[in-house]
């Protein structure tokens, strides 16, 4: 073989790059010789008993979870407060007294919650009445469409879920959401938490967060915390199950949804 210095250096450069790349791809841990990768498939193929992951048999399941909020049953300030406070508490949601506040469930006057529904001649009692708002868990969620990393995705039970591990803080989802249901952590939220529930993670600076219908509670067999706290003013259930409570209440009451014209098909219904 007859190569000159130029060719030799070229080959050397390419080889070095390939070697470095393969070492990184193999994982940092192998650089230190701590251990080999755990290969469940190889173990299973060899006939060994292997571990597995399962849903909790107590988990509540559905094809499409939905909440119907009967705003007629929200009368005193406490009716709203008890639903909102329990969520803030169990999900470690900070209380930041600026525009950088984080909210999963909150209240707004009717005419701000339903800006197009509003007309100037409706009864005063409805126009300014606070309405409970939360993520609508849209059937066609714009946030999922725009998320570049798959951090926001749709579960099989219809819940629009956040995988905070994957969130890169680009906030496309916030631009996409027509309901303002998403909040960005402009800063570490922990200094704004009076008390941290150690069983639920906080979030960190630079990630977006939102209500997920208490997915962690459903997976343990519990109803969403706000529904549980609402004393029947919120009804939760499977929209695809004709016998479910929510289907019954929706078929016997007139309901509206936020910005239905956008075609997101919200799964939070309001009984007026």
């Amino acid at each position: 073989m007859d190569i000159d210095k130029r060719q030799f250096l070229k080959i050397l450069g390419i080889s070095s790059a390939l070697w470095v790349g393969s070492r990184f791809a193999g994982g940092i841990s192998s650089l230190f010789g701590i251990g080999d990768k755990f290969d469940t498939k190889a173990l299973a193929d060899a006939g060994f008993e292997i571990s597995k992951t399962l849903p909790d048999p107590k988990a509540l399941t559905a094809k499409q979870w939905a909440i119907a909020i009967d705003i007629r049953q929200f009368k005193t300030a406490d009716d709203y407060k008890k639903c909102i406070m329990v969520c803030d508490k169990i999900h470690n949601i900070p209380d930041i007294s600026t525009k950088q506040d984080i909210k999963w469930i909150w209240e707004e006057p009717y005419n701000a919650a339903f800006p197009e529904q509003h007309n100037n001649y409706m009864g005063g009692q409805l126009k300014d009445k606070p309405v409970i708002l939360m993520c609508n868990q849209c059937e066609f969620p714009p946030c999922v469409r725009v998320c570049p990393t798959g951090a926001t995705f749709k579960r099989q039970d219809g819940i629009v879920m956040m995988d905070y591990h994957r969130c890169i803080g680009c906030r496309y989802c916030m631009a996409g959401c027509p309901y303002g249901s998403r909040s960005f952590n402009f800063q570490d939220p922990r200094p704004f938490l009076k008390k941290i529930d150690p069983e639920y993670p906080t979030r960190t600076k630079g990630v977006v967060e939102k209500c997920d219908f208490c997915a962690e509670r459903l997976d343990k067999g519990l109803m969403p915390a706000c529904v549980e706290a609402s004393n029947g003013a919120m009804v939760f259930g499977d929209l695809r199950d004709p016998g479910s409570d929510i289907r019954k209440i929706l078929s016997s009451n007139f309901s509206i949804r936020r910005k239905p014209e956008l075609g997101t098909q919200p799964n939070v219904f309001y009984l007026i």
Binding site: G35, F48, S51, T53, I196, D197, P201, T204, D219
Partner: protein, 135 residues
């Protein structure tokens, strides 16, 4: 051969940079990691056994936790059935920290030795002893 001076200087710099980690550690006391199992819950166990074998956990806990994360967050699965058939809730806080409530004496022993800074703690709450001390 021309420019021999520049080439030799460059080579020396290159070798120096590549071996920098080794030069950097010279003279530093390398304390061998010694994770402590001295926690109230572990001390009360009759048979001290993690969810899988000790060697498996040493080798694979990072892979395992990664699998748990995806199973819980993305697949609605919350239970881990180990190779011995036991069920565990897949949760850092509820399961791991229940026994390993001594982050500094357990987790950090190896992580510091291999100079890894996992950022789990930015969101996941450290075991109770740590909360008291702030974060």
């Amino acid at each position: 051969m021309y420019d021999s001076g520049k080439i030799i200087t460059g080579l020396v710099l290159f070798v120096g940079l590549v071996t920098l980690p080794f030069w950097y550690s010279i003279g530093k006391a390398q304390v061998k990691p010694d994770p402590s199992l001295n926690t109230p819950v572990i001390n009360q166990m009759k048979v001290k056994h993690c969810i899988e074998s000790k060697q498996f956990m040493i080798d694979n806990h990072m892979e395992l936790l990664n699998d748990w994360r995806n199973a819980v967050v993305r697949d609605n699965k919350t239970l881990y059935v180990s190779t011995t058939g036991q069920s565990f809730t897949m949760s850092l806080e509820v399961t791991c920290f229940h026994c390993h409530s001594n982050e500094k004496q357990f987790c950090n022993q190896c992580h510091s030795y291999v100079n890894i800074q996992p950022y789990c703690w930015e969101c996941h709450v450290k075991p109770a002893e740590e909360i008291a001390n702030g974060h």
